[in-house]
Structures are given as C-alpha cells and as structure tokens.
Symmetry: C2
Subunit: 436 residues, 2 copies
C-alpha cells in the first residue's frame, strides 16, 4: 500500500466541514483515482465546541492554522479560513516554506498575495492549488493552466459574481428596481449586509485578475482592472437591451489588444444568442476565446459549500496523484507587469440612453454630435414612455442608441457636446457592448 | 536547461499539420509552462510529397508510424492517423510497451481498445492522453479525470455530434426536412458521404462510453449503449417541442439509476431553458451532474483542426510537465463491467405524437389507454394542421402528448393498445424527455 496523503485542514465552516465529509464519503474512489488514500490527520477552527455533524475521532485538533501548516505529519495544508491577511496568509506561507503543498479557496488572498505565494511554491516544490477561488466547481483554473496550455488566448470573459447576476436577472425578468432586487438578495442570503464588494464589481475584479494571469501570463493585479458596478443599471436599460437583442450582465473581460492586455469589469450588453447571455440567477460562466478556435464556455455554480468543496477535494487529489503545475501556469519570474487599461482608448460598440427634453430635433442633434466624432449608429429608438394606462406620458422622451465599434474617447466627447447643447436632461447612460 | 520532450507525430492531415504549427508558434509559452521545450523530432504520413505548408527541416521523416513508436529518440508518440485498426492501434501498443507516453485524438480506437491500451500504459508507466477524442478542445476528459476527482457523479449528458446538432438546428429554425438538412450538411462538409455513423448515433455512443467510464468507473463498452439516431425526427416534432417549451437534441446520456448505470443515445426533448438547449449548429456541449452540486456545462466546438490540435498540444504539454493520471481515471482492474440498459425499464417523461384518424373521441381513447398503464398526462394538444392558406386541412389530426415520468414498458403497452384500437394512422412518434 502506498503511503496516504496526510491532509490538515484549517477552517471548518460550511466548506471545510463538507471537505471532511467528501474525503470520508469518497474514500474508495479517491484511493482508486489517486493510487493512494487521502487521510485527514489534523483540523482546526475558531471554535472546537461548535456542532458540525462531523466525526473527528482520530483526527488531531491543532491549536492554530500555523500549527497545522508546520506539522511534520501533514503533507498538504488546506486553508479554508478566508481573508487576505492573518491567519490565512502566514499559515500558507509557512506551509509552502516547509515544502508542503497548499490547497485554498481564498480568492482575496490569491488576488492580493498570489505572486509571493507562487514564488514560495516554486522555490520549495510544493503545489499551490486554488481551483475553488474562481467559479467554485467550474474547472476554469485547470482549463487555463493545463487544458489550454498550448493555445494562445485572445480574450476571456465571464459572469464571475452570482450576486450581481441574480440581481440583474430578477430586474430583467420582473422589471424591478436595483434597490428592490438587492434587498431581496440580502434577505435570501445571496448578498452581504454590506454588498459593496460584490455589486461594485470588486469581487469580479479579483477573480478576473487571477484568470487574466493564467490566460495571458500577466502578473495578478487587481489595481490594473478598470471597475464599474451595477448600481446605475435601471429596468429601462434592461427592457431596451431586450428590444435590441441584448442582455445586460456584469462581465469581467480580459482581452488582448494592440495596446496590451485590457482588464475591465463593467455592466455589459451581450447578444441574447450568446452562451453567456443564457446564464441566469446565481450561476457563473466563463468564455475563453482561444486563437483560431471557437469559444469555449464553462457554466456552473459559482459558490455554495458542495460546489466549493468539490473543487477543493479535486485540488487535494491532484496533490495526492503528484499532478503539479506552476500556480499561475508558468514561473512567477516570467509573468509580465500589467498596467491599468486606459478606458478612454477602449474600442467597442456602445449603448447610450438619454432623456430628450424636446422630442422634435433632439435625435437629429444627438446624431450630428456622434457623426462629428465619426461614430456610426447601428440603431436608434425614441421610446415614448407608457403611463401605465396605455397612453403616452408627457415629459422627457428616452432616446436609445446602439453604436458600431468606436473609441470610448469619441463617445465621451460626443456626449459632452450633446450635454452642452442642453437638449437632454440628466446624465446619459452608457453601457459597453461585448460581441461574441 | 532541462531536456526537451521529444515528440514523434504519425499522421499529418489537417490536425497533425496544425499540431506541428502550434508547437512551433507557441514554443516560448510551452517552454515556460512546462519547464522544458517541446520538440517535434520525427513525423510520418502516407505521402511525403504532399504540400502541407510545413517547415519540416531538421525533423526526421520516419518510414512508418511503428518506426516512430519504437524510436528510442522519441519520448511521446502522437497518433493522428485515425481508425480503430492498423496502423494506429499496433503503433500505440508498441509505443506504450516501450514505456513512452501516447497522445491521440482517436475516439474509435479508445472506444474499442481503450481498456487494453490503458492497461499497457499502467504497466509501463507512460501516459495515455486523448482529450481531443471527445469534444475536441472542450476539456471534458480532464474535467472528469481530474477536475471532479472527488465528486460522485449522478449523470452526464451531452450533444457530442456536431453533424446531428447542425441538422436538428436547421430543421428547427427553417422548418426543413431531415433529408434536406442532411444534403446541405453533406454539401458543406459537416456530414460524410455515408452519414450513418453520425446520424444513427454511433459516433455519440462511442464518445458517451468513454465519458461514462471516466464518470462512473465503468468499462468502456460501446455495445452497452442503447442507440437511436435522428432519421425519424420531423419538422412537426420540432414545432410541437417548441410549442411545449422544449427543443429536440441528439443526446448521449449516462445516468446512475437504482438498477445500475444506464447509457443511451437518442433524440431527446430538453427544456428550452436548459444550457444544453441553447447549443446550436455544430457546437458540442456536455453537462455533468455532480452529487449535491448544481450542473456544470462545458460548451465549445466538437471538431475542427485548430480545436482538435489545441487539445492534442495540451495533452503533450501534460506529458512534458509530468502530469499523469490513469487513462480512465483509475486502474483498469478496478473498472466495473456494464451491461446494456434494458430500455423497457427506462423511466422518464415522454413526448408522443400520433395521427388521429377521427378527430372526435380519439384523444379520449388515447387518454384511457395511458390511464390503464398508470401514465399521467402533463399536457395534450390536438393540432389541426394548416393547409398553408390559414384553413384547416382535412384528414388525420395530430395528437401530441407529454407524459409525466413513467416506465418505457408502460408507454409501449399503452401505444400497442391504442394501435389495436385502430384510432390512429401510422406509427406513433416517441421521444424521451430529459429534465435538467
């Protein structure tokens, strides 16, 4: 019998407890697949007394994450505490420095300190696996790191935050406001009491910076991601998108351009026929455009204890089997620095929604201002809002435009001119379009 | 500098030539990712003279696939000849017996002789990688073998044949007949001159038997797959499906039931809202239902030189990195025998379409016969066919039913009784429903 892989787990929340259960329940399969048993030998958590429904007999209760990370009896340190700082960070560093392999679901830590940790893993020979950090059981890390190892990548984009997609789906399907859907998401546990991190796009940005590193060989850098959240999206935008053949999703997009790798997170119009547009509710999805090959899309739950545990256990199984790739797919020293995409140079199509003060002539004024910036209009709609009784409302009339590909700079200049003309009330709504 | 992985390639068709080009074009990335260069040292193909646009200077032209497979200078044998017999089979056996790793895109060979080859790989320590054999660049083999190593799987189903999906998509979108779409597919190169292997479901069955082995630990066995092709599907079925909220896809389904693993390939009604229903044209998709986790769906091109080469090069990169898993995820000796699913015991919902001879009373007769077999009806539609001028046609009237879950046996008995009643003309159309 080959020696078992001895695993120590720090953090026994819903994910940690599920990992212990899966390793137990799938013991025979894991042994067959890995050629050796996987054995949990040590655990720790904040409270030893908490009821978890786990049989921990025969498993050492360690006094701290660091104690597990440095325990000579542990081969593989599994960090499920969360948070980019102490105690998760120092414990992982200690485990890697001791030559152990590390498995973590900690997206924030990988986004902020992944390079330092990867360098330690490289130096001491351990693995650093973090499949669960992005898209839970969706195997996107493995696909980028191994499955597309020889394929140049032009673009990767995805729905990486279930909270935002849940809110946008409900807004679209039920015509509700952003605020109403957010409140519902909070009530159902899909959104935090402080939802800023999710709805303002920061969670997506952290995940995107990790995927971009794997896809393009760039240094993981959250600060190099342009970020815009979903607070400004209205039911009117979703209805107009629908009429025009689009849906609005909060996308993380990393794309190779003539000017370098552009990383951005923002509400995005995607064609209704695209795979990504079909993704509803808390589901996540990632589309990868490999050079010369049709897009590959991976869809699944982006969170949840069982889905996250599935990825964590697979990462442990890779360690047991001796499957190891560099944490970011290639040596850290070879990763290229990346700077923030200057969005004024972004090129693409745009959706613009404005409120015309005066129906007659406003569309012509807007069209003229766009033409001055060489922006071609794909479609223009003036929509007379309904009062709810089938009769037209008085007051400002929405004008909705879709442009052909142009530069953001040109769009901003044109809108500034339109505002100076005083033919619209309020600020124009601008949503970028991503073609598949 | 670490020694390069020396690769020999047998077969320089569109895929083989593309593999040579990708290894050359991506040399720097591959070296960084694998920690060593990948070097093509030998090739062979039927005709040396054929123009391929490849620079083969410095590469040995071997006299046969077997010569490459046994060349001591070759570490990794890449078989891109195709066909389950000679010369592909013996060459792969020789390479594995010599302890080399093998990469192949040969689905037929893996379906028919995969177990024997896997046993050889196990015995001599080489890898046997075949990601391209199912779904080309869609990383479904790796996902099942590694990405879900610790996750029990309840069901795996997919659109695994682009030809059939292309035909069904055109039939649905344009109301064309099966024959017209097949002829178009042949003209466009999406279907072979002899399309039997694709449209009668055998290609899907071979791929399904491979996926089922990886998912459930069963022996690869094409003969254990129940197979039904798409010849009998009519535009009327697709229209009725659409009305009822379904689409018709040729699915390969492997599912864990109380009576064992059921493997089947047949036209299937899937809810229009499911991920799999969105997959159009020659695209392939696979959905995996892991225990306790929401479905994971992988979508992409199922064929094409660049997509296939992408998977082949990734498989070679795994060999270069020393990433190795058992070919079917676990040792061959542990794989369980599987027998053909007795379809009469299959349980699920059914779509039934019959032509009622006499409008009045026929639906009642049918409903009674179904009730006698304890089959509950979810919906029933009698559709008066259109003459094309908006007026009702005379003659038989289609009756379309959707049943709740029942056994196939019960459906067959009920339909036999209906036929004995002589209230319908012709044979009833029966399409199984797969819920997501």
């Amino acid at each position: 019998m080959v020696a078992p892989l001895k695993v120590g787990i720090a953090g026994l929340g819903t994910v940690g407890a599920e990992v212990v259960r899966v390793i137990e329940r799938q013991a025979a399969t894991l042994t067959a697949r890995c050629g050796r048993p996987i054995k949990v030998v040590a655990v720790t958590a904040r409270s030893k007394a908490k009821k978890r429904g786990l049989d921990l007999r025969g498993i050492d209760w360690a006094k701290s994450p660091l104690a597990i990370a440095t325990d000579p009896n542990v081969d593989c340190f599994v960090e499920l505490i969360g948070g980019a700082g102490d105690p998760a960070g120092p414990a992982i560093e200690a485990a890697l420095a001791a030559g152990k392999s590390v498995v973590t679901a900690n997206k924030a830590l990988i986004a902020k300190h992944g390079l330092k940790l990867a360098a330690l893993a490289e130096k001491h020979g351990g693995a650093l696996n973090y499949e669960a950090a992005v898209g839970a059981a969706i195997p996107v890390i493995k696909t980028l790191r191994e499955g597309l190892a020889g394929t140049g990548i032009d673009r990767i984009y995805g729905i990486l935050n279930g909270t935002c997609n849940y809110i946008l789906t409900r807004m679209e399907q039920e015509g509700l406001s952003f605020e109403a859907c957010l409140a519902d998401a909070q009530r159902l546990g899909y959104a935090e009491a402080d939802p800023t991190f999710d709805i303002d796009g920061h969670d997506t940005a952290q995940k995107l910076s990790i995927l971009a590193s794997l896809a393009f060989g760039t240094k993981v850098s959250e600060s190099a991601v342009y970020v815009e959240g979903i607070r400004s999206i209205t039911p009117e935008d979703l209805r107009a998108a629908d009429d025009l053949g689009y849906r609005v999703k909060l996308l993380g997009v990393a794309v190779r351009t003539a000017k370098g790798i552009e990383q951005r997170v923002h509400p995005t119009m995607v064609p209704k026929t695209s795979s990504i547009a079909q993704v509803m509710g808390v589901t996540n999805a990632v589309t990868i455009d490999g050079q010369g090959i049709p897009p590959i899309t991976l869809v699944g739950a982006g969170a949840g204890a069982a889905a996250t545990a599935s990825a964590v256990v697979a990462d442990i199984a890779d360690v047991a089997r001796g499957i190891r790739a560099e944490p970011f797919g290639r040596p850290v020293a070879g990763l290229k620095a990346i700077s923030k995409a200057p969005m004024e140079r972004h090129e693409g199509g745009y959706y613009l929604r404005m409120l015309a003060r005066d129906h007659a002539g406003t569309a012509a004024t807007i069209a003229t201002r766009l033409a001055e910036q060489d922006i071609s209009i794909e479609s223009i709609v003036q929509r007379q809002p309904d009062r709810g009784d089938g009769k037209a409302k008085s007051g400002p009339v929405p004008v909705i435009l879709i442009t052909y590909a142009t530069s953001e700079d040109a769009v901003r200049r044109a809108l500034k001119a339109v505002q100076a003309d005083k033919v619209i009330s309020g600020r124009p709504q601008v949503i970028r379009i991503e073609k598949n």
